[in-house]
């Protein structure tokens, strides 16, 4: 075997990088099949009402058209909501495509054209004529706010608002400094590069192999099996071109493609267009109210945080928006509330750091406002209120190196050069502003299994149904296995992204590396134990040695202290006539630990903006993001995660907004020319710092996950910097030029 090598903590290239850049990695819409049919979806153009008639005659007559499905030819599908509820569904009645004539939101799928080619399907879709009966709709949360309600049933995995504590009113009344402000965030729309697509390969007896764009092959598999009552379904998502939460739930193209394949007994591909991406799963429109009171030293006395978020007419989608305010800073008097307002849209969905990106924006802007009110440096204010304990849960942190984030971030950024007064820093014709914010996200472990197989030639296979949505799961799993067996990374074969592999949770919540990584680690350790036992029991030289004194190192079973007999793993396996040694590792939350401890990732974000004083043009010149996330498995893929999160944060701060025409209930900028995300020119300098954070409690590998933390706090830090530059406080995202000059 190869000499001892270290993999964990090394900046490794992605093991699948070459496949991706050469196009060899295939995505859901790239699989072929014999006589593959193609679908194109027709969506509603009204936001509420009912379909009176759908005229498909012209479309049916077009060349290449095979079938057009509408609500009139609904299939024999499950009646029960629970069959439609996937692992990540919020409470309510999941949307059922083509279920009835009712229109609940604009962009709702109302017909599916199936044709011999994509072009023919699209061609026909344009001439499906629909007659509607229009009913009143509401897409304006300001108008819907009056009807806000507390969701009666809580969404699984989302903590409800924390219990109130202390005496809020009294504390607010006694405060030397107060901030009372309202914040607003528009809808933000999922636009990963890969569009939602399903290629359903049909075989006899309704055996289906489905290539689906999803963050969880098993979640999708269970959904299809339950809804269509099938027992031979396999879902594959070997490569996923970004998802950011949009692929947690099965999307309607999956249902429609399966429905068509079963009906026509042929393989079907359905890929949504960019336009349809704006009509499904989005970061919900949110209004927030915050009141903060502090004493004359800036110590928080009171904090009140309320949020109202948009949801659909049929499900109570929920996020943890206000909870962060209860754990971010030490504050003994606090109250939190969270409500929903129904609008005529699809159910919102998780989008990178759901809840935190939104709630922390408000909290960290309000903290900045407090810093100016109290005349205390924003960073100093946060240090004075540093939370040593999670007051929401009354638990200790497994680790919290946020202080180190503040210190190292400030140092790299040059925070000490900040002049306290707004509008006091200039460079030529530009005003210069410094702003900062903190970020928080959960560090969770979810139930996960991984099978590891050590082969006779010393190479290793890792198998689990985990997904790699572009984050680097393939790579870090290979690193963990390579580290365990001290072999080069290319001796590890990682098989993920299929529903028939060992159980893995959906890829989300930043728990993948911690959960599946731990499972791989545990499986590898179990293999080593098995090898030790084998040597211990079957090889004479080892008989007298206690197994606890043995280890597997560099391909040899030997004594931990280096003395005595050794045997190579290869020899051992040969003697045992083992082709392979295989073990399954199971990771999950440590319930005992969780009674006492809770775990979060943290960040400190520092931003410099420049604002042209005459023209009002603002640009984000520099961002330093300092992250505490336990052990960093691979600084290279880790940095990419944070860079991506920060860029998305710039988009949230400066660009992203669904422009609703409330008159029609339609989002008008439904393409990437008009729905703006940052372009290269908007991103100048970003520095990512990982501070040391040792955590032996969070999970066996000390890893906290990085998928979401990068975006949290960025929008607030940018807004705070704009305030410092201009003296203008912006509380409504995004900070476009009209708001800056107003």
């Amino acid at each position: 075997m190869a000499p001892s090598v270290s993999h964990i903590g090394q900046p490794r290239n992605r093991v699948d990088g070459r496949l991706k850049v050469t196009g060899a990695a295939r995505y859901a819409a790239e699989y072929q099949a014999n006589e593959l049919l193609h679908g194109y979806v027709v969506v509603s153009t009204i936001a509420a009402g009912r379909i009176v008639a759908i005229d498909t005659r012209e479309a049916r007559a077009m060349p290449g058209v095979v079938q057009i499905f509408t609500h009139l030819d609904r299939q024999g599908v499950s009646w029960w909501d629970r069959d439609w509820q996937d692992d990540t569904a919020p409470p309510g009645h999941p949307f059922r495509p083509l279920h009835s004539d009712r229109i609940l939101y604009d962009g709702q799928p109302i017909a599916l054209v199936i044709a011999e080619s994509f072009e023919a399907a699209r061609n026909a879709a344009d001439v499906v004529h629909v007659l509607y009966e229009v009913a009143p709709h509401q897409t304006d949360i300001h108008a819907a706010e009056a009807d806000q309600y507390e969701p009666p049933k809580k969404r699984e995995g989302v903590p409800p608002p924390p219990e109130p504590r202390g005496d809020l009113d009294q504390a607010l009344a006694e405060a030397a400094f107060r901030v009372d402000a309202e914040y607003e965030q528009p809808s933000e729309h999922h636009n990963p590069m890969e569009l939602f697509a399903s290629t359903v390969i049909y075989e006899e007896n309704d055996k289906l192999t489905i290539y689906d764009k999803t963050q969880g092959s098993q979640n999708a598999q269970q959904f299809v099996s339950a809804v269509f009552d099938l027992d031979d379904v396999k879902v594959v998502n070997a490569y996923v071109g970004g998802a950011f939460g949009s692929g947690l739930r099965p999307r309607y193209q999956l249902f429609l493609a399966v429905m068509a394949a079963l009906k026509l007994k042929r393989s079907v591909r359905l890929e949504l267009s960019r336009r349809e991406m704006f009509y499904l799963s989005y970061r919900p429109i949110t209004l927030q109210k915050l009141s903060i009171g502090a004493d004359s030293n800036g110590k928080l006395l009171a904090l009140k945080h309320h949020a109202v978020q948009a949801t659909s007419l049929f499900e109570d989608y929920q996020e943890a928006v206000v909870n962060w305010s209860g754990l971010a800073y030490q504050c003994d008097n606090a109250a939190f509330s969270y409500t929903l307002s129904q609008v005529n849209t699809d159910t919102p969905g998780d989008m990178r750091a759901p809840g935190a990106a939104t709630g922390v924006f408000a909290l960290e802007t309000a903290m900045d406002e407090l810093s100016y009110a109290a005349g205390i440096d924003p960073l100093e204010l946060r240090l004075r209120n540093y939370a040593e304990r999670d007051q929401n849960m009354d638990k200790e942190f497994t680790s919290k190196a946020l202080r180190e984030c503040y210190a190292e971030g400030a140092e790299h950024f040059g925070w000490s050069k900040r002049q306290p007064t707004p509008r006091s820093m200039h460079d030529g014709k530009e005003l210069v502003g410094y702003g900062m914010a903190s970020g928080f996200w959960d560090a969770q472990v979810n139930k996960a299994e991984a099978k590891v197989r050590l082969l006779a030639d010393g190479s290793v296979e890792v198998l689990t149904a985990a997904s790699d949505i572009g984050t680097g799961t393939y790579t870090i799993l290979a690193q963990i296995a390579a580290e365990a067996f001290e072999i080069p990374i290319d001796r590890v074969k990682v098989s993920i992204g299929a529903s028939d592999l060992p159980t893995s949770p959906v890829e989300g919540g930043s728990w993948m590396a911690a959960s599946v990584g731990s499972a791989v680690h545990l499986a590898a350790e179990a293999i080593k134990t098995k090898l030790i036992h084998r040597a211990n029991r079957h090889h004479e030289a080892f008989l007298p040695i206690a197994s606890a004194d043995l280890c597997v190192e560099a391909g040899m079973v030997k004594k931990t202290d280096g003395t005595g007999p050794t045997i190579s793993v290869a020899e051992l396996m040969q003697a045992a006539q083992w082709d392979a040694v295989e073990e399954t590792g199971k990771a999950g939350p440590d319930m005992l630990q969780m009674q006492k401890y809770i775990s979060y990732t943290h960040s400190a974000v520092f931003v410099e903006v420049r604002v042209d004083e005459q023209l009002g043009v603002a640009r984000v010149k520099r961002i330093v993001s300092a992250i505490a996330a336990g052990k960093i498995l691979n600084p290279k893929t880790a940095r990419s995660q944070i860079l991506g999160g920060v860029v998305m944060g710039v988009g949230m701060a400066m660009h992203e907004e669904g422009l609703f025409d409330h008159g029609t209930g339609r989002i008008m900028n439904h393409n990437l020319a008009e729905y703006h995300v940052p372009a290269n020119a908007d991103i100048e300098d970003i520095e990512v710092i990982f501070v040391d954070e040792h955590d032996d409690k969070v999970n066996p590998i000390g890893v906290k996950g990085l998928g979401e933390i990068g975006i949290v706090g960025v929008a607030a830090a940018i807004g705070n910097a704009i305030y410092h530059a201009t003296g203008k406080r912006l509380r409504t995202l995004p900070f476009t030029i009209d708001k800056i000059i107003s």
């Binding site: 023209l615 009002g616 020319a673 020119a681």
Partner: protein, 355 residues
């Protein structure tokens, strides 16, 4: 996408005849706009006439110093052409402020000035739009109109013309050469695009069957005193909220000639030659330019979401001029690559690149 027939004529006359003969025919050049419009089902040409076989790619300066840009010359080739960079840098920087490198490689000069508005409603066949479907109403008027016009609009249409290049061409008093069944014509740039009035379906004054063959620009005498400034929602790859092509000639401290065209505010590049005339001979001071901006924007009205343009437009209409006075900045014009936030960033011009 609808089925269509396709033809690729080899001469201008053939192309013009084909276009005149079939009212449902449309010309395709770079295709960066037309193909999108077809995909979105905004337009359904019965025939697509591909003019890429025509010999209209040249870029040349004639004996009198006039620049002739072939209708099929790519935007990128035009912007990076040495003659254009040295003689008409305002045009270069306006072109480079537009779209993305890939789009500029494919986009042609003719297609650029003929590109359709970016009004959201125009692009969405499920909404009313007088420009797309005459008589159906204007969705933008009481809708999402953040990017819409504040000048010269009509109750029937408040769309803007999206081209950056056209704004510079307007300031440079370009001439559009067209050829049709009735022969050749030269259309002064100011007369080329229309205000919407009650015919918003017509973007310009071309006749059925006419094809743009070239755009001509006379030599300009503004030295270093010109700017293309574009304010937009992100720093590249976004259409202008307000843009300005400004050129000024000074006699000492007095304005000799002033030309300012605004983009993003009207159905065509917005120029007021009468106002420019009034300001000739005035002192080149900040006050003068502010007064000029006010006069240029006279009558501007907002429609709700675009009200901010009333506040946004004055600064770019005057600031670039002020920035040329009293001592003009000595920056080589090629380096005014307008991909910077202000159109003033001193980034080196990117190397010419194409496909």
């Amino acid at each position: 996408m609808m089925r269509f027939s396709y033809s690729r004529p080899q001469t201008i006359a053939e192309a013009a005849a084909a276009l005149a003969a079939d009212p449902s025919a449309q010309v395709i050049a770079g295709g960066t706009n037309l193909v999108d419009l077809m995909k979105y089902d905004v337009t359904r040409p019965g025939t697509v006439i591909d003019i890429n076989g025509l010999d209209l790619r040249g870029i040349a300066v004639d004996g009198e110093g006039t620049l002739h840009l072939g209708a099929l010359a790519a935007n990128a080739d035009t912007a990076y052409h040495p003659d254009v960079e040295s003689g008409w840098p305002l045009l270069s920087s306006a072109i480079l402020a537009a779209a993305s490198a890939q789009l500029r490689n494919a986009a042609t000069n003719g297609g650029n000035i003929l590109q359709r508005t970016r009004c959201y409603y125009f692009y969405d066949p499920s909404t009313p739009c007088n420009k797309r479907r005459p008589g159906s109403g204007c969705g933008a008027l009481n809708g999402v109109n953040r990017i819409h016009a504040i000048l010269g609009e009509s109750p029937d249409c408040i769309a803007t013309h999206p081209s950056d290049m056209a704004v510079a061409l307007a300031a440079l008093d370009a001439v559009v050469r067209v050829e049709g069944p009735a022969g050749e014509r030269q259309i002064p740039f100011d007369d080329f695009h229309r205000l919407p009035g009650d015919r918003p379906d017509l973007d310009n004054t071309m006749e059925r069957g006419e094809i743009v063959t070239a755009i001509s620009v006379r030599p300009q005498k503004f030295g270093q005193h010109h700017t293309y400034l574009k304010l937009r929602d992100r720093q590249s790859y976004a259409f202008a909220l307000v843009s300005v092509a400004a050129a000024i000639r000074l006699e000492g401290d007095t304005i000799d000639e002033l030309r300012v065209a605004l983009g993003g505010v009207a159905h065509k590049p917005w120029r007021r030659k009468d106002v420019e005339g009034e300001f000739a001979g005035r002192p080149a001071t900040r006050q003068t330019f502010e007064a000029f901006a006010a006069a240029l924007l006279e009558g501007a009205t907002g429609h709700g979401q675009n009200d901010f343009k009333l506040d946004l437009a004055p600064a770019p209409s005057s600031v670039p001029l002020s920035r040329h006075t009293p001592v003009p900045r000595r920056i080589s014009p090629q380096r005014w690559c307008s991909d910077g936030p202000l159109g003033f960033s001193h980034r080196p011009a990117p190397q010419p690149r194409r496909r």
